[in-house]
């Protein structure tokens, strides 16, 4: 009796203790269900010849015809390659640059300058991508752009028609992406750095460690969990591209599609401009499926090396 009552009492206590947390979960859960789970039923469109009169469930099944088309043309290969390669570059360079800048920021001793630099590097992250696309245009416009008019002319080089020459765009897009996003990631790393016990550095100094040694043996090991979580999260999104970056910044120029078309822009164009719901649903399902496989595999690898850093 007594033990029973005690047990019930503790579980009740537990519920009461966590009740606010459960309540806080509700809005998020509802959002997820409405926004992410219910629409999943729509994946059937990928296997159907969509008819607007009969709707999603009334349309006839056509098996894998929609996918057949995706893979028959070069499209599937191009958009997969672009999405993966860009994201790999973004993850590697993005992480390295963000960590370097975070460490540099940490080394700054003057509080005033520190605040100033923090603000400056975060600013690009807050600019709308549409504005960014026009900033880029101001640089790259064939006629009035800063690069053609200022730099190329000064160097005695011929002006380049940037918006019709695909070979430059992998670099341009990477630079734009890094410029825009490094500030945010940098702040994440910086906040971890601030949390590192100052005692480590003090004892290292007593032992005669120089700055570089401190970074290598204290800062980086302390950053490891943050790095692995952030990288893992990016890998889980490796099949999703930054739509604004790939759609707005190249100004939707056909000549650049070979290097700027990613799965997301392809799906968008298929749906909105070409009006073929079946094919864009097929492309999206492909994206979700391969993305899912990648997350599971990446997580498996991480679990092997460092069980605590794995997501699940």
């Amino acid at each position: 009796m007594k033990t029973n009552g005690k047990l019930i009492g503790t579980s009740k206590d537990k519920y009461l203790r966590y009740l606010p947390l459960y309540l806080m979960m509700i809005p998020g859960c509802i959002y997820l269900i409405i926004n992410n789970y219910i629409p999943m039923a729509g994946v059937v469109i990928a296997f159907k010849k969509y008819n607007f009169k009969t709707g999603i469930f009334g349309s006839p099944f056509i098996g894998f015809d929609n996918f057949k088309f995706l893979f028959q043309t070069k499209d599937a290969w191009t958009i997969t390659r672009n999405t993966l390669c860009y994201n790999l570059v973004f993850i590697v360079l993005g992480t390295v640059i963000a960590i370097i800048v975070a460490i540099l920021l940490y080394e700054i001793t003057s509080e005033r300058y520190k605040k100033f630099y923090q603000t400056v590097i975060l600013l690009p992250f807050l600019i709308s991508i549409v504005v960014v696309s026009y900033l880029v245009y101001a640089f790259l416009s064939a006629d009035t752009g800063f690069i053609n008019k200022g730099i190329m002319k000064a160097l005695g080089l011929d002006p380049v028609s940037w918006y019709t020459t695909p070979k430059y765009w992998p670099v341009i897009l990477s630079v734009v992406y890094l410029w825009k996003s490094f500030g945010y990631n940098c702040i994440l790393y910086y906040s971890t750095l601030v949390g590192i016990d100052k005692g480590y550095y003090e004892s290292a100094e007593i032992d005669g460690a120089n700055r570089w040694q401190k970074v290598l043996h204290i800062t980086l090991p302390c950053l490891k969990p943050t790095i692995s979580i952030l990288v893992l999260m990016s890998i889980s999104k490796i099949f999703y591209s930054d739509f604004g970056l790939f759609y707005q910044v190249p100004l939707n120029q056909g000549a650049l599609f070979d290097v700027t078309n990613t799965i997301d822009t392809y799906v968008y164009r298929g749906l909105v401009q070409l009006n073929n719901i079946g094919m864009s649903a097929a492309a999206s399902l492909y994206q979700a499926f391969v993305g899912f496989v990648l997350v599971v595999v990446a997580n498996m690898i991480v679990r092997k090396y460092d069980n605590e850093s794995a997501l699940f």
Binding site: L23, P27, F52, T73, G254, A255, R269, L271
Partner: protein
Amino acid sequence: MSRKKLLSIILVGIFAISILAGCGNSGTAGTSDASTIQNTSTAAAGSTQEPYTVKIVAYGDGSSDASSAVAAELSKQTKKLFNTDIELVKGYTVDQLNLILTSGEKLDLFPIMPWELSLATLAANDQIVAMDDLLKSNGADTLAAISENDWKCAQVNGKVYGVPMNKDKAKDTGFAMSKDVADELGIDYKSLTSFDKVEQALLTVKAKKPDIYPFVSSMGQNDLILPYDDLGDSLGVLENSLDKSTKVVDLYETDSYKKFVEMMWKWGKEGLIMPDATSNTDGSTTVLGAKKGFGFFAHFKPGVDNQASAEAGVPIVHSTINQPYSTTSMVNAVWSIPANSEKPERAMQVLNLLYNDPTASNTFINGVEGTHYVYTDNTKKVIDYPSGKDANSIGFSVFGWACPNQQITPVRVGDPTDLWSQLNTYNANATASPAKGFTWNNAKVLNEVTACQNVISKYKNGLELGALNPSEALPKFINELKAAGIDTIVAEKQSQLDTWLAAQK
């Protein structure tokens, strides 16, 4: 501590409830919008129909203020006749229209321009409704007013899917240019009747007026002024609609296309085309109006110079390279009723009124008298902008040709008073393509069409504006089209055309 906890619980609870309530509200808002709860007390005695609001999307820019003023004026008439209110939306983009059509948002009437949307695809997707029965029950006047041949052009699979706009049904193509610049440099604009002569003029402009672009693009595109019949969607065309051949070919493999893009490439190399022509976001008339350009390729109809000059704000003249010809695509710019319309018969009543009633058509095209236009004479046959206002300040762009029937409305100052009869003579005298009246049904090859359009969007503008080198890009373009299934489309189109031709005999 415990008070704080209590407070947090309450706050979280309130937050959760407000979110739930928010969802509930937006859900019901959606349905009430659809079932159109209208103010029934104002229902007119003349009509016993239940109240309904017909939502119309119209071509051309327009502020919401101007649109609702026009809608209110139009509603006065429709309320009395049909107990129907009008809601008017202007300034759509093709993407927005596509989203409305795919998302199931309420819409009752909208224009299908062949260069924006494909009638055949919309019909194949069942995104628009077949109109034959509706025309008989609610649109008898329209049915009678339009010729049998024109109705044929608006058919898919033997069913009518739209009411053809009573506009120019043929086009001649050539070079449009700024009159001021042509006069200043002594260019005789009427004489530019071939590509070579246009090139000479462009070279003159480049040499004598280096501060303006000789050749400009319109919204990053060029008008491909070859006399081909696009047979619905430019995927599989008749190379020359002025001769009798009915062989369907891939436009992008033809010699005339090759010559055109090679010419554009050469012009580009010579610096005759504006830089970044493919990413230009202004219309060609806007560039000319800003005095930054000389001319562009375009297609024409009677009165077009007056129309273009009004758009640009500077006088524009043109030369003709290809004589007037008429294809199905020139006729099947239509007004259609989407499947999203809850009461297609009510939409048809309004469409019928807009096509046949001069007052309604005038309001729909020109707006409210006194606010958007004034009559210049007592006969009420000519209108002008009210004093102190012009094309840019009335709040919307007037696109009469994109409305159901401009020919029952007054003409504008500067137009000949017999403009409409000139237009009809022009339509009647144009050479008809051998495939005029044929409508293409792409239902069997929809995926090939999408795949080909993906390829086209990659190369078309770049090639046609001299930004891509045809010796490299054109073979790639052709090969990718083949991989995407253009040959299947051409074969399917040829067999449909042959069947149609056989039935015409």
